[in-house]
Amino acid sequence: QQQVKQSPQSLIVQKGGISIINCAYENTAFDYFPWYQQFPGKGPALLIAIRPDVSEKKEGRFTISFNKSAKQFSLHIMDSQPGDSATYFCAARGAGGYNKLIFGAGTRLAVHP
């Protein structure tokens, strides 16, 4: 039972283009939505995160757009670079405490030069 649905599974973008990864959730009790970035052979690392009372958060070339009514959020990578090639996971934190996260299935991004 996947409570956070992520799409697409894989994405190819040209250098300088915009990468967009989408996630949807059902549980309205989720209260925190992070994105993690994972390079091959490494553990995931926090990239950017948002709370449901904010519609957008931007950090450099990375932006999260959050639509509370639609229960959807997305990651936008502007001016994508080959160094952005990685797997991206969206996640959501449940109301049960202890910072437990439910992860999406992941998106493998390849940015071609």
């Binding site: 925190y32 553990g43 995931p44 202890y98 999406g104």
Partner: protein, 115 residues
């Protein structure tokens, strides 16, 4: 600071064998987690711990046991390995309070192959 470290990096087991994966963190974090990562499945929580001497089940706990005898260490045990447990295992930790309390810090992973 080494952050979160995992031992071993890679292991091959035969069906029915047992092993223990070790996770260590030097950040004095209260919360620790074990995940497994499988293609197309994302990261799924196996067990977690909110403090020394406490553990709890996550989403996929069957076939695994854990212990947290010391605050800095979180052990994941497989008593009788099965091919379905072939996966990459990640440990993570989080402080219970403070500015970084919502960030999970991950280790580099342990790749396990069960034949």
């Amino acid at each position: 600071n080494a952050g979160v470290t995992q031992t071993p990096k890679f292991r091959v087991l035969k069906t029915g064998q047992s092993m223990t994966l070790l996770c260590a963190q030097d950040m004095n974090h209260e919360y620790m987690y074990w995940y497994r990562q499988d293609p197309g499945m994302g990261l799924r929580l196996i067990h977690y711990s909110v403090g020394e001497g406490t553990t709890a089940k996550g989403e996929v706990p069957d076939g695994y046991n854990v212990s947290r005898l010391k605050k800095q260490n979180f052990l994941l045990g497989l008593e009788s390995a099965a091919p379905s447990q072939t996966s990459v295992y990640f440990c993570a930790s989080t402080p219970s309070r403070g500015g970084a309390q919502e960030t999970q810090y991950f280790g580099p992973g342990t790749r396990l192959l069960v034949l």
